[in-house]
Symmetry: C2
Subunit: 143 residues, 2 copies
């Protein structure tokens, strides 16, 4: 997948996985819901995960803002597999700085319109969109 296609796969996905790395160099990975605004990806710490998990993610970003986010599609037919990845720089935002993220997340998820998360929010400026898809089945022979 090229960068445009990879970004499109994100735009169509409801869930992604966020990988962060703290000062101790051990990777941390959690599923996230997210919304895009151009090349910025927003996600919320919404209080549903365990507090310790939420803190780990935030501590890691404070120590090392370099993050990776993945969306993927699995099927037992492996010719249908694909994934897309966003590598970028994250920061934790609160208050007024969180308004753009709150706007696109509440537009995208009705769950957030019913019960807005309290934050904080994570804003990821994506430097690189990349991806891969299986070659797919052989095309039918030309008539």
């Amino acid at each position: 997948l090229d960068a445009v296609q990879a970004r499109e796969r994100f735009a169509g996905a409801r869930v992604a996985r966020l990988a962060t790395v703290g000062a101790n160099a051990w990777p941390h990975i959690v599923p996230i819901v997210f919304a895009l605004d151009e090349d910025v990806l927003y996600t919320a710490v919404d209080g549903k995960p365990k507090a310790s998990t939420a803190l780990r993610r935030l501590d890691n970003i404070a120590a090392n803002p370099e993050v990776a986010v993945l969306v993927d599609h699995y099927a037992d037919d492996w010719t249908q597999l694909w994934w897309a990845r966003a590598d970028g720089i994250a920061r934790v935002v609160r208050g007024e700085a969180a308004q753009p993220g709150i706007r696109v997340l509440t537009e995208r998820y009705e769950q957030y319109r019913e019960q807005p998360p309290v934050g904080p929010w994570i804003e990821i400026r994506v430097d690189r969109w990349s991806g891969w898809q299986a070659a797919g089945p052989e095309p039918p022979p030309a008539p």
Copy 2:
């Protein structure tokens, strides 16, 4: 989820995501198919991903064997969400050392029985199983 429950979620999942971190501290994340044997998780570099992606994963493990693996379930009904994570130590194996992994992977995925991957293989000794699930809907009131 406790450790036993988290491991059970892995045992029931067909796809996971592997996060690795190389010498440059940027996290890398890819989807994987995998199989378990007790507390060891096996996955293969099977030649379908881009060569550069496969190498990144292997280079990262050589530089830093600490990895994290995630399985998760998404539903628009957020009371159904769950995830499970395995933190462990990875090593790249080839040849005779890869036989235990090849055995459990080919048992689990008929795709591998039809077309065995060429390897190399990644063996992850899981130090910690953890996880989370949403509280679920409120139970009905007692009669």
